[in-house]
């Protein structure tokens, strides 16, 4: 079983109240030097069978039509390898949110 990760973040120009609330709390917690915080969603999909281009294309479509709302969100699809390092996928389909 392979793991594919879809990260969904609000587009940079869209207000992120959650990230802002975290950032504004940091000084109170004694943390400095963090210029910006954005909060998004992470989906971990356990895929049966091979994660080939066809499978990735389907997951990309899933992300675009369902996991993310591309009116306000961007997403990235990644395959996690054994070391836990995530490689962003750039197949024929663009990995960044299309529309």
């Amino acid at each position: 079983m392979a793991r594919v990760v879809v990260d969904v973040m609000l587009k940079p120009e869209i207000l992120d109240p959650q990230g802002q609330a975290v950032q504004r709390a940091l000084p109170r917690l004694g943390f400095e030097g963090i210029a910006d915080v954005r909060q998004g969603k992470r989906f971990e999909l356990e895929v049966e069978g091979a994660v080939d281009d066809a499978a990735l294309a389907r997951i990309h479509e899933l992300a675009e039509t369902f996991l993310a709302n591309t009116v306000i969100e961007d997403f990235v699809v990644k395959v996690e390898n054994a070391e836990g390092i995530e490689n962003p996928v750039t197949p024929d389909v663009p990995a960044k949110s299309g529309s």
């Binding site: 609000l10 587009k11 120009e13 869209i14 207000l15 109240p17 609330a21 009116v71 306000i72």
Partner: protein, 749 residues
């Protein structure tokens, strides 16, 4: 290219501006040039184009809307009328109430959650801007067919958005509507209403007066949201290097809005505010031009001082941005420090961005250069006015001739029983608890009545029990059959719902949802609906305090049903006397008030059983509505009735089902002389209600009805655990409950 300053505009009269792309018509652009005596700067063009849009200028609707003023009934209750952020009425004991309904239809289709959420945010800011503490919200909704896959996307998102925003804001949701109809498939209606309460002396208006007073922008930072038009101007014409896509959808931050409410009310309480305006559609363009034109002087604004979320925004974009959760206050110089301290207390960013001048111009500066120099009235109030052509549609006669009275009726008691189950279990007639249970109705601790009661009711004064009630209604099917009557039926139903709870109707707000004004059929529907509403308000003595017009609700050529939604506000001296819908006591007598006629045009029965829409809607008799209301109010005040439920879509059987389920008691009904069971159960004649009368009060109650000339027919008794129609059928409460309560969850949960 360099900054398009006023000076530059004077020197380069021939520069072509993208006025067309910004939605202005040729003659409108010519008019802007004429007003200014030169070509506008990019920033000025941006302001005029948004402020002269249909949404902000009411250019197609103005000529009709003025009837609300011309036909306004005499009313001592009106403190602030149409034209301000929201109307204000006197409810006694020194209290004033402001309320309004607005639409957020199009954004909610694109992004249901955020569209609906920011709809709530916007209406609540209108209420705060009047000086009031918001105390409740309502949400009249119209969706596409219940079983259409896209409705499964839109409705749950809209409900989650309304709940997500309103719940987080701490406003009880005390009413609304949810109607499904295929005509709304590509264009759902998301209307949101709010009520606020203040003392008379706390009423605030949107005007900037007093030379030297400071203009303070506070709340969220300004970002690139909702500035479609302006970014055309900014990126494509003026600076091609800019990202050309700015988001059309805004994300709401209810937490920020909650802070805005608290800090604004604290500033009001310390009398720090001369004038105030919320930032809604058209953002700073609207707020500055309206504040300046309603006040006595001019205004000077330094755009560089506006706190930004995105430093790449152009001045045009800053002026147009519709970033949520922002307000603009006018404050005397020596009170600025205190105002800013209150904002700081609530973690709200506040910045002085300008001041009131002794001139008459609105002047806006960027990097030290003047980019706007206009008479603010010309932006805010002197927009174009259209006399759009309208004509009675050529299909209207055929529609009305298709009489619902001809439809096949149930042959016997068994068939009637089956149709009752079918109707009370249909998506439109079924319980909406799946929706309303996602809304907090208890917060603030003053909710006397909420869904599924006839109207929401909020206590205002803990000591005296003074309260207000609000109901919203609209029936697009009736309005399609006859928009004049349909609008009056919406008014009558909402009025009746308020009276049924024991409150006295005082004033109304409305949200008029229609198709394209460029279609003469639609324009006729619109004109007729307004005429009906204005005539109706005059007759009932309930003035229109304000409202909202939403046009272009259509998919391609197909317009939605004309859908005027009417919100009636009522007042009750002591909320302890409120009348709920529940049949709580076995043995109480059921009386049907009003006349029941053969009226099935546009009815729930014709829709659910036959998929039919045709004929004429029920007849309206506003004098009768008034009489019914007086009886319901007196009966509540004098303790003569224990329950009341108004009759509307679905007819008597719908009302009895709801009252039985709510109270956990059954009812035995007898068909009175002169009526057949089918007509008794399903007719939708207006001006009716069902009440439960304790036996000890029967004589007093019937005497009162008799003396005042209201037909009151004894139709049965509260009893058992079934709804039984003698000689026809029996339906157990359990069976009714599952039919009524399982439909909506099974579609959407």
């Amino acid at each position: 290219m360099s900054l398009d300053t006023v000076k530059h505009a004077e020197q380069t009269p021939d520069v072509e501006l993208p006025w067309k792309e910004l939605g202005l018509k040729e003659d409108e652009y010519a008019r802007v040039r004429e007003i200014l005596g030169r070509r506008p700067t990019g920033a000025e063009l941006a302001m005029y184009s948004v402020m002269w849009s249909e949404h902000c200028s009411y250019k197609s609707s103005k000529v009709h809307l003025k009837q609300f003023g011309e036909k306004a009934p005499q009313s001592d209750a009106m403190l602030v009328g149409i034209g301000e952020n929201a109307g204000v009425v006197d409810v006694g004991e020194g209290y004033a109430v402001t309320f309004k309904v607005e639409s957020h239809n199009h954004p909610s289709y694109v992004e249901p959650y955020q569209g609906a959420a920011t709809g709530v945010g916007g209406i609540v800011r209108d209420i705060i801007a009047m000086g009031a503490r918001p105390v409740a919200v309502v949400d009249p909704l119209r969706m596409g067919a219940a079983d259409h896959p896209d409705t499964k996307r839109v409705l749950p998102g809209v409900v989650a958005g309304i709940g997500g925003y309103g719940n987080c804001l701490g406003l009880p949701n005390i009413g609304g509507e949810l109607v499904f109809d295929a005509c709304y498939q590509g264009n759902p209606l998301v209307n949101a209403g709010a009520i606020g309460v203040m003392r008379h002396e706390d009423i605030h208006l949107a005007k900037a007066s007093g030379t030297g007073n400071k203009v303070i922008l506070y709340g969220a930072r300004t970002g690139g949201d909702g500035i479609g038009g302006a970014s055309i101007l900014a990126s494509e014409t003026f600076d091609a290097t800019k990202p050309s896509k700015r988001p059309a959808v805004q994300v709401g931050d209810p937490f920020q809005e909650k802070l805005l409410i608290e800090c604004t009310l604290e500033a009001f309480a310390e009398q720090l505010v001369v004038g105030i305006q919320d930032l809604g559609a058209a953002g700073l363009s609207c707020a500055t031009s309206e504040l300046a034109s309603n006040g006595s002087g001019g205004m000077r604004v330094e755009l560089d001082d506006v706190p930004l979320r995105d430093s790449t925004l152009s001045p045009e974009e800053i002026l147009m941005s519709e970033s949520q959760e922002r307000m603009c206050a006018v404050v005397e110089p020596d009170k600025v420090e205190r105002f800013l301290a209150i904002c700081e207390k609530w973690d709200v960013i506040a910045t002085v961005v300008g001041e009131v001048t002794d001139g008459t111009r609105l002047e806006i500066f960027w990097h030290g250069e003047k980019i706007v120099d206009v008479d603010p009235r010309t932006v805010a109030h002197d927009g174009p006015v259209y006399e759009r052509p309208y004509a009675r549609p050529d299909w209207q006669d055929a529609l009305q001739a298709d009489d619902a009275g001809e439809l096949a009726r149930p042959a016997d008691g068994d068939a009637l029983r089956a149709q009752v189950l079918q109707v009370v279990g249909s998506p439109n007639q079924a319980s909406k608890a799946w929706v309303t249970d996602q809304y907090d109705r208890f917060v603030q601790g003053n909710t006397v009545l909420a869904q599924p009661e006839d109207s929401g009711m909020i206590r205002i004064n803990e000591e005296t029990g003074l309260g207000v009630a609000l109901a919203t209604d609209g029936n697009g099917r009736f309005a399609k059959l006859d928009p004049y009557t349909g609008a009056q039926l919406a008014l009558a139903e909402s009025y009746r719902n308020v009276a049924a709870t024991g409150a006295r109707p005082l004033a109304i707000s409305d949200c008029l949802n229609f198709g394209s004004p460029e279609d003469p059929d639609v324009m006729w529907q619109f004109a007729e609906a307004i005429r009906g509403l204005a005539d109706g308000c005059l007759e009932l003595g309930t003035p229109v305090t304000g409202g909202n017009v939403s046009l272009y609700n259509q998919t391609g050529e197909a317009a939605i049903h004309p859908t005027p939604v009417v919100a009636v506000l009522g007042v009750i001296d002591d909320v302890a006397r409120r009348t709920p819908i529940a049949f709580r006591e076995s043995g109480q007598l059921l009386y049907l008030l009003g006349d029941t006629r053969q009226e099935f045009g546009g009815s729930a029965w014709s829709d659910v059983v036959h998929g039919h829409l045709g004929g004429l809607p029920p007849k309206v008799d506003l004098g009768r509505e008034q009489l019914l209301a007086e009886i319901l109010i007196s009966a509540s005040r004098d303790g003569m009735i224990d329950a009341a439920h108004d009759l509307s879509d679905g007819g008597l059987v719908q009302a009895v089902t709801e009252s039985c389920l709510r109270g956990g008691n059954g009812a035995r009904l007898v068909v009175p002389d002169g009526l057949d069971a089918f007509t008794l159960l399903f007719s939708e004649s207006a001006g009716r209600a069902v009440v439960a009368v304790p036996r000890s009060e029967e004589l007093r109650f019937t005497d009162m009805c008799g003396a005042r000339g209201l037909p009151a027919t004894r139709i049965g008794v509260v009893d058992g655990d079934a709804v039984e129609v003698q000689g026809e059928f029996t339906l157990s409460l359990a069976e009714l409950r599952s039919a009524h309560q399982e439909t909506v969850p099974s579609l959407f949960a």
